[in-house]
């Protein structure tokens, strides 16, 4: 191990100064999710709003970051512009290794700069630069400029926000190294509220290798499992878009604002089609040999005299669902064109797509018109969605400013809450059934990755309330430990608890290796306590009627089962938090 405590850089943008804080807690809060919660409780203000200058934005890595493959993610935590409660968002790219090699377990940013600024950090430097000239600049252009302004090519991460983050949209993301994101729940807005356009972290520290044979042995074993077996094949072959066909086959893929869960047009927009028609190359997060990032290419003739430009857009299952099937788009290049605008404006593509799907159905129902939307929205019209994305990102009028805060906020003003596809936040692409709907609605991050509810649905056709709740609670605790390492959750099949224990032991964390289960449960509890202290109450979360009206492979949704699951899951969360 490098140290038995946490080394944290706290930067105050109001004063322009930083300081190193050393904190205990490696055997209890571990790192990543646990460390982020610990730091929010130390530096956060539970009762002040998300955009108060005192609120921290936290980036945290774990005890195995840098030592093992796929320990390649960073946890970003903040008080969310979406619900004004504590939350996390997870991202990869080079962020985790850059933080590790900057000799930090976490970076905490408090205060607010008077003018738009960029923060540059390394193991030996800290600088805050005025970048007022980047005001309103898109993610692509600002990334290029930050690259030009900063040292460390290849060994740095460049985080930045677009116009959506600057405008405080609750659906704005933080872009990580062009192709990855801290996507959900408004991290972009949290940085925008600090007048912080970008963060460059240059990893320039060097550490000694653990001086024991066990480290080399377990490293080789893990690396072999990841690269020489089929365990990770689904992620580097077609990638997550392989799920499109499978979920459509079992009536679990949301189409046209979840008006249906299956459509024969899937043949035009499945993972195979994306790979065949658009895949340009693969890319990877630093420290991950899997290379799950799929970069698609769109060629565009912008002048009749055969003048072309091209775009490289990274695609995954989720944006294909949110900007494809959910919007009735069945042409891969059209999906990439909308996604490209989402990327450049700094919107979360999942939330943005689902919000535009609601706006389209609201248009069909004549609750809103072109007067509000600025462009006529109809399912399948990709050009209109590209324009609407720009309007949503910049908050072009009252309607879009409200929609940018969440579909249910807009529905409260204009009507249409029954068909807003919101489960705590705009839904993820899994219409698998009652367990997932309850799980995302009340999940800590309102993410499909909080727990495996979508998987439980696909394996159980019977109704088992206590079995499902028990699964969700236990699964979340295990994932809380994984996101405290901080592992990519794609590697959860490799990093079982016994392997994790060996990995921890080999780098010197023997005490932690012996208490994985209890540490995971402790972090799960701490996160929920922190969320509850900032306003979470399960009874305030409703599941819109649309989710009760659909049919999956199991048949029609059973409203009694869904409501019972939601009630009991909420109670279970409160119980585990000690409420």
């Amino acid at each position: 191990m490098i140290r038995d405590h946490f080394r944290v850089l706290v930067v105050n943008l109001s004063t322009g100064k930083g300081k190193i804080a050393e904190l205990d807690g490696r055997n209890s809060e571990v790192g990543g999710s646990g460390l982020a919660a610990l730091l929010f409780n130390k530096y956060g203000q539970r009762d002040l709003p998300w955009n108060d200058p005192q609120q921290p934005v936290i980036f945290a890595i774990g005890p195995l970051t840098g030592y093992y493959p796929l320990m390649s993610k960073t946890v970003c935590s903040f008080k969310s512009p979406y619900h004004d409660q504590y939350t996390e968002s997870h991202g990869g790219g080079r962020s985790a290794l850059a933080l590790f090699f900057a000799n930090l377990d976490a970076l905490v940013i408090v205060g607010r700069s008077q003018r738009l600024c960029a923060l540059t950090v390394s193991s030996r430097s800290l600088a805050i630069k005025d970048v007022d000239f980047m005001k309103g600049m898109d993610v692509d252009e600002s990334g290029k400029l930050l690259r030009k302004m900063s040292p460390g090519s290849g060994h740095r991460t460049i985080l930045r926000i677009g116009p959506a983050g600057e405008s405080g949209a609750a659906m704005s993301c933080i872009n990580v190294d062009t192709y990855r994101h801290f996507g959900r729940l408004g991290g972009g807005g949290a940085l925008g509220a600090k007048n912080l356009k970008g963060i460059v972290i240059h990893g320039d520290a060097i550490f000694s290798q653990p001086d024991n044979k066990e480290y080399s042995k377990i490293f080789a074993e893990v690396y072999q499992q990841i690269t020489a077996t089929d365990m990770m094949k689904k992620y580097h072959n077609l990638g997550t878009p392989a799920n499109l066909q499978g979920l459509n086959n079992i009536q679990s893929l949301p189409w046209r604002n979840l008006q249906t869960t299956s459509d024969p047009a899937i043949d035009k927009i499945n993972g195979e089609r994306f790979a065949t028609d658009t895949l340009l190359r693969n890319s990877a997060c630093s420290g991950c040999p899997v290379g799950c990032i799929h970069v698609g290419c769109v060629r565009e003739m912008f002048d009749a005299n055969h003048r072309y430009t091209f775009k490289q857009v990274a695609y995954d299952y989720e944006p294909i669902f949110s900007l494809g099937t959910m919007l009735g788009i069945t042409e891969p290049r059209s999906v990439l064109n909308i996604l490209d605008v989402m990327e450049k404006t700094g919107l979360d593509a999942m939330s943005g797509g689902v919000a535009l799907a609601w706006a389209t159905e609201a248009t069909e129902n004549k609750l809103i018109s072109e007067k509000e939307t600025g462009v006529a929205l109809s399912f399948g019209d990709a050009a209109a969605y590209q324009q609407a994305t720009e309007l949503l990102a910049t908050g072009a009028n009252d309607f879009y400013r409200l929609l940018g805060q969440g579909s249910l906020k807009a529905a409260a003003e204009y009507g249409g809450s029954d068909f807003a596809c919101v489960l705590g936040q705009e839904m993820a692409g899994y219409a698998t059934g009652e367990v997932f709907f309850a799980a995302q609605s009340l999940g800590f991050r309102h993410s499909h990755l909080d727990s495996g509810g979508y998987s439980f649905d696909q394996k159980h056709s019977d109704q088992d309330v206590s079995g499902a709740i028990d699964f969700l609670i236990k699964d979340e605790a295990g994932r809380a430990f994984m996101t405290s390492m901080v592992s990519c959750l794609f590697a959860r099949g490799v990093y079982k608890n016994d392997i994790l224990a060996e990995c921890l032991q080999a780098v010197g964390y023997s005490d932690l290796a012996a208490t994985i289960d209890t540490a995971g449960a402790h972090i799960q509890k701490l996160r929920w306590q922190t969320r509850i202290a900032t306003g979470f109450a399960p009874e305030y979360i409703t599941i819109p009627k649309r989710f009760f009206k659909i049919t999956t492979w199991k048949g029609a949704i059973d409203p009694v089962y869904l409501n019972t699951l939601k009630d009991q899951y909420g109670q279970a969360i409160l119980r585990l938090a000690g409420e």
Partner: protein
Amino acid sequence: MKKLTTPKIDRCIGCHSCSLACARLVHKQISWDTAGIRIKSSGGLTTGFTADHCLACDPAPCAAICPTGAFSQRKGGGVIVKKKLCINCGDCITACPIDAIFQDPAGAVFVCIHCGRCVDFCPHNCLQMEEIHGTTEEEASA
């Protein structure tokens, strides 16, 4: 005698597994700097990747300029490194025309010794050990 080459670097995904393996296995460090091969984008992440590594010059300007014999000419190209002789002057860094040598903050220098231990860690087979014409295995171990 062989040298490290990157004939399929266009397939690189930027995972840094080669750099990390070199630092770990050759230099006993956890680093993406103290490695004989270092990966960076060739001009932003949309442009693909390039590898900074020794191209096995013969004669090698870094060996020629080294004042203490820490770097000496390797037959067929590249250098033989004797760390104990190095005084951390950094002259080799300025002599290398392609920035293939890294100097850590304490002054120690790191260059590819063409051992090939990184090759197997590349998931896309971008790296390859290539025979240097006119050399033999005996010369390699001389």
